[in-house]
């Protein structure tokens, strides 16, 4: 006799799952008698306000049932993420590790620049952790107020946005790295021009043609034809401040060196057709766009 209609089958299935959940609940309750279960974990994390951007961390029955080693590991990660959660959306001063990373980055722009800036004693570094870690330079006179407001409300911005912490690709994988923002670049360029002119010769700058300026502000990478200043001494992996013909700051770029492997060697000479700006027949050079003023229109609206 065919007794199972679709509805009945569904009901049975529901009943089964309910029973499963009940057994899970009871096993969960039993485990609560375990001494290692801290009162902190006993509170229902579901009830706590969730912060957008992070997955909800709910200790499942599975995490409690597993063996000792695994259990401790789970507890650790839960605590760690909880700590991260509490830090989210807070405007706090930058820790030493991050300061060192920023310092390292400044060294690549111009050796000694960070120390000079620090010696000015005019700014305090702050970080805002949501949605990505943004680094702000806050004028020292505003610092007390920022700290005061940051304690009791959501401060989203203060002073100058210097840059971000993002994942950086390395040979072995990814690592946390600091990146200068458009405004940070402008601040540094203006600061060097105004207060440390001795550094002007140490930083990399290029001036673009009118057409190049337009393309750059559209967020495009550029061929070196668009650059009107000498390019022979431009170095790879060193930040380039991009300017227009009038010397106005347009944004930031890096020198990109690509293999020119696709071009076949000339049959007569045996050499590959050489780009006018390349320093070798095997490589093509271009400017890789990092940040520009056009993002106000493209992203911010």
């Amino acid at each position: 006799m065919k007794k199972n209609t679709r509805k009945e089958r569904k009901k049975e299935k529901n009943r089964d799952t309910m029973v499963l959940e009940k057994t899970r609940e009871t096993s969960h309750k039993n485990k609560r008698t375990d001494k290692t279960f801290t009162p902190e974990r006993e509170t229902n994390p579901k009830k706590k306000a969730s912060i957008p951007g992070l997955p909800k961390i709910i200790p499942t029955a599975k995490s409690v049932i597993v063996g000792k080693e695994k259990k401790s590991k789970k507890v650790k990660s839960y605590k760690k993420i909880k700590k991260e959660k509490s830090k989210l959306g807070q405007f706090t001063t930058v820790n030493t590790t991050n300061i060192n990373l920023i310092k390292e980055y400044f060294e690549t722009i111009c050796p000694g620049l960070y120390d000079k800036l620090a010696r000015l004693n005019r700014y305090v570094l702050y970080q805002y952790n949501y949605p990505e870690r943004e680094i702000y330079l806050v004028p020292a006179e505003m610092s007390t107020l920022v700290r005061h407001l940051g304690r009791s409300t959501t401060v989203q911005h203060a002073g100058i946005l210097l840059g971000y912490f993002r994942l950086k690709k390395t040979r072995t994988g990814f690592t946390k790295g600091f990146f200068l923002s458009f405004e940070g670049g402008k601040f540094l360029y203006d600061l060097i021009k105004r207060e440390f002119p001795e550094f002007l010769s140490k930083i990399q700058t290029v001036k673009l043609s009118e057409k190049g300026e337009k393309e750059f502000l559209y967020g495009q990478d550029l061929k070196l034809h668009a650059v009107t200043t000498p390019t022979e001494n431009l170095k790879k992996k060193k930040l380039i401040f991009v300017l227009n013909q009038e010397g106005e700051y347009l944004g930031l770029a890096l020198l990109r060196v690509q293999q020119a492997g696709i071009n076949k060697p000339d049959e007569e000479t045996g050499y590959k057709p050489r780009d006018r700006f390349s320093r070798s027949q095997n490589f093509l050079l271009s400017l890789m766009h990092l940040a520009d003023a056009g993002y106000y229109l493209r992203k911010a609206g």
């Binding site: 107020l145 409300t153 989203q156 003023a293 609206g301």
Partner: protein
């Protein structure tokens, strides 16, 4: 009891209201309100609201001088004419230019901000100065906040608060574009900020450009034309009163607060200020340092706001060729020692 002549008069008025409402595509309630707020020249105001808005820009003197920007924009085909009384404001004629005023490289560099003359006047009335502590209670999208930064020359403290996260994104972008370096952006409801600004952190100046019906900017946005009744304004008025009360309570003794709206309804302007001032004994209305605009209304529909209300200012669309704005500068008295 109404006499037959009074009845006749009322009927005639009703007729003219429905006729005007039809002609200009307003709700009868809005025509009535216009008649109450502009009893002498409501027809001129109606006509002025139909005119297209003039393009105006504010030169960001943090980054460039007005003369240098004028040269740059004129090279691109724009024609610039100075706004009388505002050194850094220009009327712009874009007919000869190939590019939109909001897409030039100069705009991207933060050399200017697209802002109406009436909006520029708000900060001009408050007149923030370098090294002061200024609070902007409803800051996004940031036209007035960036202007405050310009007045403060990046010195002092500027706190900009807004309740809407999406709008604070635009606010932040505008602050960055304009190179304002002394601003703190706070995401919060301004009606709840009283505990944040305690004794040691009281602002010298506060700008409260309150959320309003927008009836003064009908030239730009036609939706307020169809406001049907007082009920639609009720919630806004409640919020305006709450915000003004909070603003006045956190203001430093001796400090000033500018209350402004882009609405012509006296219910959102004079009536709000008058009602809130009943709660405070240490607040007075003061005359702004710059003599632009017309005195606010002293009495409407039998409601008296007092002679001091004449110190507040109103912009008339038919007279000042602008939006209809209301500005009231309030000062907290110094505490007696």
């Amino acid at each position: 009891m109404t006499t037959p002549t009074e009845e006749n008069h009322q009927e005639k008025e009703k007729e003219s209201i429905t006729q005007l409402a039809k002609e200009f595509n307003y709700s009868p309630f809005m025509i009535e309100q216009l008649m109450k707020n502009y009893p002498q020249d409501y027809k001129d105001v109606l006509i002025a609201f139909e005119q297209p808005p003039l393009e105006t820009i504010r030169v960001n003197t943090l980054k460039i001088t007005p003369e240098a920007l004028k040269q740059k924009l004129e090279k691109k085909g724009f024609k610039l004419r100075k706004i009388p009384g505002i050194d850094y404001g220009y009327y712009v004629d874009s007919t000869g230019a190939r590019i939109a005023l909001g897409a030039t490289h100069e705009y991207l560099f933060g050399y200017y901000y697209l802002q109406s003359m009436a909006s520029m006047l708000t900060v001009h009335f408050l007149y923030p100065e370098p090294d002061e502590f200024v609070l902007d209670m409803c800051a996004a999208p940031g036209s007035k906040t960036t202007q405050i930064g310009q007045f403060m020359k990046n010195k002092g403290k500027l706190v900009a608060i807004d309740i809407n996260e999406n709008r604070t994104k635009t606010l932040k972008a505008n602050l960055r574009r304009c190179g304002v370096e002394n601003a703190i952006v706070v995401l919060n409801d301004s009606t709840l900020i009283q505990p944040l600004f305690t004794k040691t952190h009281r602002p010298d100046k506060i700008l409260l450009d309150a959320p309003c019906s927008g009836s003064g900017i009908i030239k730009i946005d036609k939706t307020p034309k169809r406001t049907k009744s007082y009920e639609e304004l009720k919630d806004l008025i409640k919020l305006q009163k709450k915000l003004l009360t909070v603003g006045l309570s956190i203001l430093k003794p001796g400090g000033t607060l500018l209350y402004s709206t882009c609405s012509f309804h006296y219910l959102e302007n004079e009536a709000v200020v008058h009602d809130v001032l009943k709660k405070f004994t240490d607040i007075e209305i003061i005359e702004p340092a710059i003599d632009i605009g017309m005195p606010a209304l002293e009495e409407v529909e039998g409601m008296e706001f007092g002679i001091d209300m004449l110190k507040a200012r109103r912009l008339y669309p038919n007279i000042h060729d602008s939006d209809a704005f209301f500005y009231c500068l309030l000062k907290k008295k110094e505490k007696a020692k």
